[in-house]
Amino acid sequence: MPDTIQDTNLPYAIRAYSPERLREALKKMYLVRKFEEGAEDSYMRGLIHGTMHLSIGQEASSIGSTMALTDEDKITSTHRGHGHCVGKGADLSKMFAEFFGKESGYCRGRGGSMHIADPSKGNLGANGIVGGGLPIAVGAALSAKRLGTGAVTVCFFGDGANNEGAFHEALNMAAVWKLPVVFVCENNKYGMSTSTERSTAVKNIAERAAAYNMPGVTVDGNDFSAVTEAVDAAVERARNGEGPSLVENLTYRWRGHSKSDRNRYRTKEEINEWMGRDPIPAMAKLLMDHQIVTEDDVAAIEAEANQIIADAIEFATQGEDPKMDEVTRDVYTPESAA
């Protein structure tokens, strides 16, 4: 929960969070970046196979949107979900071990990049299906309401998912039943190669909230404080039993959709422009401007993140491979397995 300071001239995040939480948030943003750079590097060196969807450039959205959540609160995530995992407190070593397909990974090597989950921390999992997590988040919110747990669910999805039928069905039901869920759209401008201009009839996806009689707001998703201000208000509203909200974080992925992307649908200039709006230095500057960290602190936080990633890669490398005769394990829960 935000611990509010009463000075409205300060940016929201500075008012709402302790220096300790803010330093932790900066560290998490570095961890997401370094995790994905490490994953990319490991892929290039042939240490991991398959594909991956990198969220480099989107770290303010993933970390900012999870600031107000406790371990009891839930998230559902997307194929571009590493940042959400880190935001919800995932162990980087188990994340890397999953990438490496090891038994010590979050999914014992069965899920890979697209299915990292940590139910013990309220992370119900990334999802390989665009829009797949939307109704599941509504179900988690239904449980919270029926069981009276007070938990809020943050449902991450991308601009692409906003054109799935599941988006309409999920938002409508959440509103009809007034459920404690926050829909966080990370609009990075492209569903694979197709821009929102070419795919989406409204300019801002948040405008669609009106169709579900819920608040909708569009914010600069690379501005950590703006993201927390919008998402925290929506979380508070959900927690108070006032129902769902839609927050649209405008952001940009620097890398391609996945490993197959040749970047033919966007210009170098556009990519460079967004790289100039890197959310991590912006966050570091915000904290320095308000005397929460010094330049040396930032360097130390970055170095700490680098070390955590190096240790995580080492942990993953040392991990055991799954046993081949256990290929069908975990299809069913043991007591009931046929």
């Binding site: 014992r108 069965r110 940590d118 999992g125 109704p135 179900g139 069981l147 975990d330 299809v331 069913y332």
Partner: protein, 336 residues
């Protein structure tokens, strides 16, 4: 129709038996909720939920919008986080709208997450032809879902099993899909009082016989029983097996029967090709029971077409009692 019951025992219809199971579950377990289209005051398209909303309230007997994909997904999310939803599809055909959540989410999430979660979800599908509702309200899609690891698929054929399998499904930590035949909803039969379960994955021998094994599912079990009675007059002693569970299939019961009779007919309403009967046949062909066969296996399945409207065409599109009779006579008399 009659479920071969003893007259002195309490009888309920198949629909009433399902309702009683849901009532027991709602009463005994606060985490159970019912979800579906028009299952509240309307009582469900086939009046299966009936008046349960009056007793348990709209929070626990929840009408959903007409949103099969979203509704199924809400049920998956609820099952992942502490509730035990029983999700009713209005017609099994509408599952096509929700296949994403059933197949990609409910069935796979436990595996994808390395066993860290379970999805205690029950889905009910009113299935089958015979109501004149034509192609989009009549098909039998149990083989589609039976093809998906992570799901369990059952097809009760009697009121007793309809109740017992539903209560077993609720105790199961994994997603269980229950295909209920619409024509059976009004069928009466003995139903024990109170809570009991019918094991998932166990077939039932409905009639002992030595000449031919008729392995049937759902409504076809009753057609097979009628055929068996007539075959008796011909001196043919048919064994009728009610498969009850499509996934996981009861291999032992089927193979033991075939070893005894040396002949097998599979009768199922779903389209014949790549259907439940194909799996049963392959199961026999791959086992030692194959050596006991005295005649080729016969599959009687649905015709290779959608279910038509015209009542005679509709009958022609699925196996009927005379088809079973003829097949049994042929296979026993060596005419195959």
């Amino acid at each position: 129709m009659n479920a071969h019951s003893k007259p002195d025992l309490r009888e309920l219809s198949y629909a009433e038996a399902i309702r009683e199971a849901m009532d027991i579950a709602l009463t005994n377990d606060p985490s159970v909720i019912l979800m579906g289209e028009d299952i509240g005051v309307y009582g469900g398209a086939f009046q299966v939920t009936g008046d349960l909303v009056d007793k348990h309230g709209t929070d626990r007997v929840m009408d959903t919008p007409i949103s099969e994909l979203g509704g199924a997904g809400v049920a998956v999310g609820a099952a992942l986080t502490g509730l035990k939803p029983i999700f009713e599809f209005q017609f099994s055909d509408f599952a096509a709208l929700a296949m994403e959540q059933i197949v990609n989410q409910a069935a796979k999430v436990r595996y994808m997450l390395g066993g860290s979660v379970s999805v205690p979800l029950v889905m009910r599908f009113p299935a089958g032809s015979g109501t004149g509702a034509a192609a989009q309200h009549s098909q039998s899609i149990e083989a589609w879902l039976g093809h998906v690891p992570g799901l369990k698929v059952v097809q009760p054929s009697t009121p007793e099993d309809a109740k017992g399998l539903l209560l077993a499904a609720l105790e199961d930590p994994d997603p269980v899909m229950i295909f209920e035949h619409k024509i059976l909803y009004k069928m009466k039969g003995h139903v024990p009082e109170g809570h009991y379960t019918t094991p998932i994955g166990k077939a039932a021998i409905r009639r002992d016989g030595k000449d031919v094994s008729i392995v049937a599912t759902s409504l076809m079990v009753h057609k097979a029983m009628q055929a068996a009675e007539q075959l008796e007059a011909d001196g043919i002693d048919a064994e009728v097996i009610d498969l009850r569970t499509v996934r996981p299939m009861d291999r032992d019961t089927v193979l033991s029967s075939v070893r005894k009779t040396g002949r097998m007919i599979c009768v199922y309403e779903g389209v014949k090709t790549l259907g439940v009967g194909a799996e049963i046949s392959a199961m026999v062909a791959e086992s030692d029971a194959f050596d006991y066969l005295d005649a080729p296996i016969i599959r009687l399945g649905g015709a290779e077409c959608p279910i038509p409207y015209n009542p005679e065409l509709e009958k022609a599109a699925v196996p009927q009692m005379p088809d079973i009779l003829a097949a049994a006579r042929d296979v026993v008399k060596g005419r195959v």
